[in-house]
């Protein structure tokens, strides 16, 4: 009980710290990077939810792009508010995922993997080539206005005289990330989530226990796509634009690599993966054209030497650390004594 209370307090402290970051990180560049991390972590969590059922989706970038397009259209054409459009972006992406899943979730494994990729490509090509007057063709939708929200008497504008209000975007993305974490956490902790893990182990076994496998997969896939759509909507506001380049294969690979590098074992994996890879990606900008080589090498190294992902790295307990230190110091004193003795003999 005490440990539980301690854990909750620690988590709350972390949360407060995360939300206070804009007060002492004054460099807008890093604040923007953290905003990107929040969006990436949401995408990774949505994908993780789908992946733990055993279905690997290779087209999440399309749902993210659709969410961005939908919110941009609702904002520019209908003039709806910030939260409505973000939610609408998520819902449109979720509905698209629902219809695609209804057609294809009966196939599994590599077939679903390639099908989801094929669908993402169709969506990308369609977005580039139809209704160029509204969707903007290859350019996408530009000049999405910075929103203004009113909470009670407080009137918050996402843009000031000096430029976009990065702190507000950070808070928006972080708040959505926290809600997403809670949502995904409750889903995996519920009976539904345990049934999903059962489905991942064996379809037939789950079916024999009275679980409607297809419906479970469909609902999970739609939720994952909804989360991707919300993330895309936030990103479209943050960038004030949305283009079909967001739906390129590279972005789907990125999303999968956040999940895989972080580790699929628990909910912390995708978040850590998104954090580490986003930060590494920003740091690697210094090496310029060599950046893809380094990120490719990171991916290969983690797959070869840390198959469980970063989450499988456990921080050792204090007593084990002490034991290792003692043994190490003993070994060092032994070898240094021995080698000095040898040197004397040889000379």
């Amino acid at each position: 009980m005490q440990i539980k209370v301690f854990k909750v307090i620690a988590l709350l402290c972390c949360l407060v710290f995360v939300f206070l970051i804009p007060l002492f990180v004054t460099q807008l560049y890093w604040l923007h990077t953290f905003t990107m991390f929040a969006i990436h972590a949401m995408l990774a969590l949505g994908l993780w939810l789908i992946v733990i059922t055993g279905q690997v989706s290779f087209g999440q970038a399309a749902y993210m792009g659709i969410g961005g397009y939908a919110s941009a259209l609702f904002c520019k054409e209908l003039g709806l508010g910030l939260f409505t459009t973000i939610l609408a972006g998520g819902v449109v992406a979720g509905l698209l995922g629902l219809s695609f899943g209804y057609l294809t979730l009966r196939v599994r494994g590599a077939y679903f993997f390639v099908l989801s990729f094929a669908f993402a490509e169709i969506v990308k090509v369609l977005m580039r080539s139809i209704r160029k007057d509204i969707l903007g063709g290859p350019n996408g939708i530009l000049d999405i206005p910075h929103p203004t929200i009113t909470i009670g008497a407080l009137n918050l504008s996402f843009v000031s005289e000096t430029g976009p209000n990065t702190s507000l975007y950070y808070w928006l993305a972080m708040a959505c990330l926290v809600i997403t974490i809670l949502l995904v956490w409750f889903i995996t902790r519920s009976r539904f989530g345990r049934e999903l893990r059962g489905i991942a182990q064996s379809d037939d076994l789950a079916e024999s226990l009275g679980i409607n496998v297809f419906r479970h997969l469909l609902v999970t896939f739609a939720i994952g796509c909804f989360i991707a759509g919300v993330a895309g909507a936030i990103q479209s506001y943050n960038f004030t634009m949305v283009t079909s380049d967001w739906m390129e294969v590279g972005h789907s690979i990125d999303q999968l690599s956040w999940v895989i590098v972080g580790g699929m074992g628990s909910i912390g994996g995708p978040i850590i993966g998104a954090f580490i890879l986003t930060i590494i990606g920003e740091l690697l900008r210094a090496v310029g054209a060599y950046e893809p080589i380094f990120s490719g090498a990171t991916l290969v190294m983690i797959m070869l030497f840390l198959p469980g992902g970063l989450i499988s790295l456990r921080v050792p307990k204090f007593s084990t650390l002490l034991g290792i230190f003692k043994r190490l110091s003993r070994a060092i004193s032994f070898t240094s004594g021995g080698s000095s003795g040898n040197r004397k003999q040889s000379s």
């Binding site: 077939y111 390639v114 991916l299």
Partner: protein, 286 residues
């Protein structure tokens, strides 16, 4: 529409379709035997093209000899991939996919830094055109078509009639039963990876004079290869031939009549085929 136009389009789609089939047969073989998605197949194709370029244009070797040396080189690359990467992750589908994706990034970016961003071209040793049913076809494309057919037939015959080929097929059907009959699956994995990359190298060498070379030429081919093996059924080489021909026809005719929108036709075809026949045209239900 005239017969001449129809015949030209059809011959062109046949040529590209057969080279697609050659490329995809390697992909499908590797998937059938090792059940991994060889995500770096496009990068191997690109490396094959550049190897051919250097052998044929810089070193001025014989055309056929350059193709065969290219195939040997990419085959060795396949052995390295199998031994040092896929074996280390125990042929699990997702880790090998990511290892291959990471390697693709490394290979493509190194190619960009090493070979430059400018597209290059090679002149084909074959010149001239022939008229087939009023349509115009270059001799070069006919030669490429002939060589591609030769390689595919050779692959099918060797899988059916040699001892190693039969062993590879046995491993692709059931690893445990095959190993209980004294077949070492590790050798067969290495062999299939070798053959798969040889096929990618051959496709790269054949396509280099037709489409030219650039460091990013592999990615669209990889995507097309995925579509082909899904249409034909994963693991089936005749299926990949059929899928390649379908893709060739859809591409040539679609691009002629509909333009850019046609690049989504193949995906729509894939979705329709998979919804009607979830295991592909020639796939086995398992």
């Amino acid at each position: 529409m005239t017969t001449a136009l129809l015949s030209t389009l059809l011959m062109n789609s046949l040529v590209t379709g057969l080279v697609y089939a050659l490329f995809a047969s390697g992909l499908t073989l590797v998937f059938g035997v090792m059940s991994i998605v060889l995500f770096c197949h496009g990068a191997v194709y690109m490396l094959g093209s550049y190897t051919f370029y250097h052998l044929f244009r810089t070193w001025e070797l014989n055309y056929l000899l350059s193709i065969i040396l290219t195939m040997a080189a990419t085959g060795c690359l396949g052995l390295i991939l199998e031994r040092f990467f896929f074996k280390k992750v125990e042929y699990a589908i997702l880790p090998s996919l990511f290892v291959a994706a990471g390697l693709t990034m490394i290979i493509e970016q190194s190619a960009m830094l090493g070979f430059g961003t400018l597209p290059r071209s090679v002149h084909s040793p074959f010149v001239g055109i022939i008229k087939v049913l009023g349509g115009i076809v270059s001799v070069e494309r006919l030669a490429v078509m002939g060589i591609a057919i030769g390689f595919i037939v050779l692959l099918m015959l060797s899988l059916d009639h040699t001892k190693t080929g039969r062993a590879i097929r046995a491993v692709s059907q059931d690893v445990q039963v095959a190993s209980s009959f004294g077949i070492n699956p590790t050798y067969m994995y290495a062999g299939s990876c070798f053959i798969g990359c040889v096929m990618a190298g051959a496709a790269g060498a054949l396509m280099a004079p037709i489409y030219g070379l650039s460091y990013s030429m592999g990615e669209p081919w990889l995507m097309k290869g995925f579509m082909i093996i899904i249409i034909g059924g994963l693991g089936s080489i005749p299926g990949s031939v059929i899928g390649g021909l379908i893709l060739g026809v859809i591409e040539s005719f679609g691009m002629f009549y509909f333009g850019y929108l046609s690049s989504s036709f193949i995906f729509i075809a894939v979705m329709i085929i998979l919804i009607l026949r979830p295991k592909g045209l020639m796939g086995h239900a398992d």
